[in-house]
Point group: C2
């Protein structure tokens, strides 16, 4: 019998009253302690930072921490459940930031889903933190919000649903291509889903050198022939569908080498996988129900299958990426997380698996080398 | 030789890299743990809160926590040193919230000192928290910011520099009056300083029943005769200076029973104290240099002297108040911290000292009864 993790989770959350705790790192047992941790001594660090803002990284914890910011509009696969309901997920990310990268994560959920107001709020609180992890903000607003914040802030900003996902997908693909002996330049890639993750994956794979990418959305293949493309899809079309084909997802799949699903469950059947090229790679990442279950895809001839689930091999999970990305970015005081850093992070993450196999294209999150590999890759490119 | 606490504080902050740490309360040692603390289980608490927002208090830590919000415009006695430099003080408050009330405090410093932008930013992040502790925001903006947020938010908002100070002053006065055997209705009170603390003290003492209060600012006694009073001083004048006197601070002091200084150091000499009524009470709270040093005031005949310093008896310190106030407000899910709650908190704090004496009008912060007394007083009045 499958465990009811939602129920177990509610019990655990209720017992602990949430998942995080803000504790003090200096003792406060007597007046002497108070004089150092608080007044009058605290004027010392305050005045030092007033003279040189960069000292906030040496003398405070928050400036080495990450704000985990959501408006609750696209939470997990649950949709627009609002800010309060998003809090358990933001606290979860804070727990994982601490556990895997020793970074202090600060949940921030917002009472607004207006782009201008979100940008203004994040800009207002930005001096507090070393970085901003945008989380569970729906497309297409997430693209503009991230772009504006990246432009206007001098601390790293990353929408994890976009780039965390894209980086771990690329890492998995790098190793999967090794296993099946195919080259990035020649493979045909179908990406189903043109939301936050789909668009970011498309851009990163293209930047990495993949040249034959076709993106599908709920209406099928995204092509120039379709009228009324959104601004984001107009960008996507510039780097995809070079042959300008039209049709359905199933048309796109024919003879393709890679399927990447970031859409919804139960879209594909064995017969669809069979139309793909030999040694096909299937990343069926819809959660909790994948586009096709791993066993079915393998039975239909796929060489490598990955999913978002922890109960199958090859789990494509952002937590492999974001702790290390922010650790590297904050420790190097870089102001931007660049495309080059993302690709370097993906390569480093892939390289943690010494000998990739069909059932191990991506390392386990509890592998201690993961965070260091990713953070060091980011740091090397920091300026 | 006096210790250099600022230097010791810098050393301690540098060594620990700040003062707070956001730790996880649920274990993350294997995939099973991850399934409960994060996906897929976390959908359980998220969906429960989506159905009933109030469950955020049961299932998350942040919703039981307090945002400690500052724009860095009036930090300690250091002035407008900016948001980053204010961080050590905000982290210090987080440490004390945890130490004394087991409340999670989340520092938030702002990139703006514009009233509208501050109000908008705090409203935007409000769903995250159980309460908002405004901190070190300069007058007169602090009055409007607090008033607007109290009106527009359904969680408790308190500017600690105003009300934390006012409550602990009232608690000290309650006991001081017992010691000298005077009555609140008949005493003459001089308050020097009409900033955040001075105004809040004035209002609270008046609300408590003191009827002979005179407020002074840098130009002397605040009276109707003076033209061009600020909106805040126009409010102050409605409840003070009934005899409509004019003159200097020193004129006001003559025959007064209580002096409350929240202004600047070295304003008073022995000769000024000698003009006060018999059994005078002197609260010289300017920091770090008081309006008059306790020894000098006592030598000049004052019956009771309090200050803001930890190295003299009767330290008037906000930390006696704010942990308990927010603990009571959050645990009772009250939406407002009312004047009645503040007075009840002051009475409860005063009552912690069983037999007040000239050198013990206020309890020690390490007295474990303090936080419970204050929080229970607030809870009793919560609706």
């Amino acid at each position: 019998m499958k465990k009811d993790y939602q129920k177990l989770s509610i019990i655990a959350h209720r017992k602990a009253r949430g998942k995080i705790s803000v504790i003090g790192k200096l003792p406060v047992n007597n007046r002497e302690d108070l004089s150092i941790a608080y007044t009058p001594g605290v004027a010392g660090p305050a005045l030092a930072i007033a003279k040189n803002k960069a000292l906030a990284y040496d003398l405070t914890a928050t400036k080495n921490g990450v704000a985990i910011v959501s408006d609750g509009s696209a939470v997990l696969g649950l949709g627009n459940i609002g800010p309060e309901a998003a809090l358990p997920i933001m606290e979860g990310k804070a727990v994982l930031f601490k556990r895997f990268a020793n970074i202090d994560g600060f949940p921030i959920v917002l009472s607004t889903q207006n782009t201008d107001e979100i940008v203004a709020a994040v800009k207002a609180i930005a001096p507090t933190f070393g970085g901003i992890n945008l989380e569970d903000i729906s497309a297409p607003r997430c693209f503009e919000i991230e772009a504006r914040l990246k432009k206007e802030l001098s601390i790293p900003v990353m929408h994890d649903d976009q780039h965390g996902t894209a980086i771990v997908v690329l890492a998995g693909l790098i190793n999967a291509l090794k296993v099946v002996g195919k080259k990035k330049e020649s493979i045909r890639v179908v990406i189903n889903g043109s939301g936050a993750a789909g668009v970011a994956i498309t851009k990163l794979l293209h930047h990495y050198g993949m040249r034959h990418i076709v993106v599908c959305d709920s209406q099928g293949i995204v092509s120039k022939k379709r009228g009324k493309l959104t601004p984001v899809k107009k960008e996507v079309i510039k780097i995809t569908n070079r042959e300008n084909i039209s049709g359905s997802l199933y048309d796109a799949l024919k003879d393709s080498d890679v399927f990447i699903g970031v859409s919804k469950g139960n879209l594909l059947k064995a017969i669809d996988i069979k139309t793909m090229a030999k040694k096909a790679i299937v990343f069926a990442m819809a959660n909790p129900v994948p586009e096709i279950f791993p066993g079915e895809a393998l039975n239909a001839g796929a060489a490598i299958v990955a999913s978002g689930r922890s109960d199958f091999p090859n789990q494509i999970n952002n937590v492999l990426v974001y702790p290390g990305i922010f650790k590297g970015a904050i420790e190097s005081h870089t102001s931007k997380i660049t495309e080059e850093m993302k690709i370097a992070a993906a390569k480093a993450l892939a390289a943690v698996v010494k000998k990739p196999t069909a059932t191990e294209i991506i390392p386990d999150i509890f592998n201690k080398k993961v965070v260091l590999a990713v953070s060091n890759a980011v740091k090397k490119l920091a300026t």
